[in-house]
Amino acid sequence: MLRMPMPRKPGRIGAGCPSAWIVAASLACSGLATAAEPEVLIGASIPLSGSLASFGSYEQWGYNTAVNDLNTAGGLMIAGQMHKVRLIVLDDKTDPSVTQSNTETLISREKVVAMLGSCTPALVNAGALVAERHKIPMVTPCDPLMAFKSVRPWKYVWDIFFEESELGSAPFRMLSDLGIQTNHRALVLHDNGPDGQVVGGQIWPEVAAKNQIQIVQNSAFPVDNSQFTSVIGAGKSNGADLVLVDAITPAAIAIRKQLAAAGYRPKLLVMEKGAEPQQFAQALGALADGVLVGGYWDPSFPYPGAAQLAKRFESETHQSSSQHIADTLTAAQVLFDAIAAAGSTDPEPINAALARTNKIYVTGPVKFDAQHASALPIVLMQWQKGRALVVWPKNRANGTLLFPLP
């Protein structure tokens, strides 16, 4: 499992496509070990192209940063010798079947000792099942916990993210906490991906019913859908004050534009998942103002290195920071801590060390439950003039809720 660096054959990874360049860049960034230094190979298959590429770019930065920081500090102490970590990143092109084949390649051919996860249940779970089959430990962010737990009882895969029930109930809890009045009518649009089905198809209807909010229409659509005029028309004619959306970024952008183009202005617009990345606000300009999205991290949170991490990302990339840099960094650090604690690159000791994780990272405390999940608490963020501000709960807020939607 430990490997001495060997000259790599040209084009061995991702030959013939830009991912080869991306991989080459990531290898360079991750600090290739100098000759004769033993190294620990870690694999990651993440969406660097396709509809989830916006998430993948943050993940790549988070993982690379964790590796670079570790290598700069000397690496991992294993069997009395320092080892550099080398991260091999492959592009899964936002396609679960590619995630599976990438994971298979990383484990079988590259002989990685552990894996870091992709993003969204469809991609993460696809790779996680391969890692589980090979009994290779994987730590993943970006996979909502109910979707993660529903796949199977995991033995080698560990997930650090939020609970969908927390996310789904957050807008309703915010309405109650802040005493916001609406007409108690909601329109729900959600994609038919695993998390979209859970949040939009199950949780929102259940929580709405408990809060005496009538759902005037609940529409599921394929993940890559771009036209929503029918359901928007239904929401407008029913005068729903609340619009709840769970969709990836391209669909979320299209929905926001079509809401405005239809002359439909709900009082509260929640767009889970798709409204998270900065490019959502960049693509929409002022139209993004007032859009709410669930979140789990902000640089203002009182965790070690939180503020510095965001500044570092922004100075290195000249982009606004995203919460995804924090959970990916945390996932990688949790894995590295476990390898160091195990003092071995064998799967079983690493896995046992992961089970014992109990430490505060940049995203907050990480401690896995019996189902291999560590939950991050949910906040609600709102886009205001190109920045995502935490507006709920009050004890975490760094901005004031813009209500009604401009």
Binding site: S51, A53, N225, S230, G233, S237, I253, K257, A262
Partner: protein, 290 residues
């Protein structure tokens, strides 16, 4: 949904269909004139959206005003592609150019990834988020603008093909390239110009789509699919039939969305595509004029 909402929805579908027809026109021209299945059509369309996006962000030029420039730029960009890649394959049958364009599609998608990143973008204009009120009816203004522009451009292409020497030579090259060549028509040159014309139309359609929706380097595939549905529905080489087919597809997709939910729009289009292929493979409106 009430009757007014249904009417809004169906009219929106008709208007959007016009935009889709312009986007599909290039595919129809390539198939009709050159018998070329242009599998890079979606990437050319997305390229047009990027041209509109960067013209706006760099020069401040409104993409609607810049449409002719975008069409021209794309035509100039793809013209050498035909001369260098497709023309030498002229005698190799239809498979070689089709597979070449499949390769070009992958290369273009990856080139756009490297140049523009994989980020989802949208051309941010105020009219993209403004409703157009016509009495009690309300439709997206961008759909109405896009439809009007598409109809004008499709009529212009129709006139170019039916009323000019270039158009005559283009039709002659489509009907019988050897006979056209025997009569002094530069078939290879006509094919190159037809390819460029189709790409220009696709780029302009792509810009309209980029204003109305969002796009990324990987967005082209879905528009290639709807383009094929429109071309099959309308029949090869019939310019007005492409418009009618686009409108029909938009209308039926909207009807499908209203009846079964927005998630079934694409399904309706694909079912229609398969139905026409099975029942009338030459297209519903084939053989009814240019």
């Amino acid at each position: 949904m009430d009757l007014l909402g249904l009417a809004d929805n169906l009219i929106s579908g008709v208007l959007l269909g016009g935009i889709l027809a312009l986007a599909a026109l290039g595919l129809s021209i390539a198939l009709g004139v050159m018998r070329l299945v242009n599998l890079a059509h979606g990437e050319i369309l997305v390229g047009g959206a990027y041209l509109g996006f960067y013209l706006l962000s760099i020069t401040g030029l409104d993409p609607l005003l810049a449409l002719p420039l975008i069409g021209l730029l794309m035509a100039l960009l793809v013209y050498p592609l035909h001369r260098l890649l497709l023309a030498p394959l002229g005698a190799q049958g239809p498979e070689a150019p089709m597979m070449t364009m499949f390769g070009v599609s992958i290369i273009l998608q990856n080139a756009m990834l490297l140049l523009f990143s994989a980020d989802t973008r949208s051309i941010d204009r105020p009219y993209a988020a403004t409703p157009l009120q016509i009495g009690a009816l309300s439709v997206p203004l961008i759909y109405a603008l896009g439809f009007a522009i598409s109809v004008v451009l499709i009529i212009a292409v129709h006139l170019l093909i039916t009323r000019t020497r270039f158009g005559r030579e283009m039709r002659a090259s489509a009907a019988d390239p050897r006979a056209a060549a025997a009569h002094g028509v530069n078939v290879r040159g006509i094919h190159a110009l037809s390819f460029a014309l189709g790409a220009g139309c696709a780029a302009m359609g792509g810009t309209l789509i980029g204003i109305a929706f969002s796009f990324s380097p990987s967005s082209g595939a879905s528009y290639l699919l709807s383009g094929f549905a429109i071309v099959v529905l309308g029949g090869l080489g019939n310019i007005f039939a492409t418009l009618v087919a686009g409108v029909a597809l938009g209308l039926l997709q909207s009807l499908g969305g209203a009846l079964f939910g927005d998630g079934y729009r694409e399904l309706v289009g694909l079912l229609l595509f398969l139905l026409v292929l099975a029942v009338r493979p030459q297209g519903l409106l084939a053989g009814r004029g240019a």
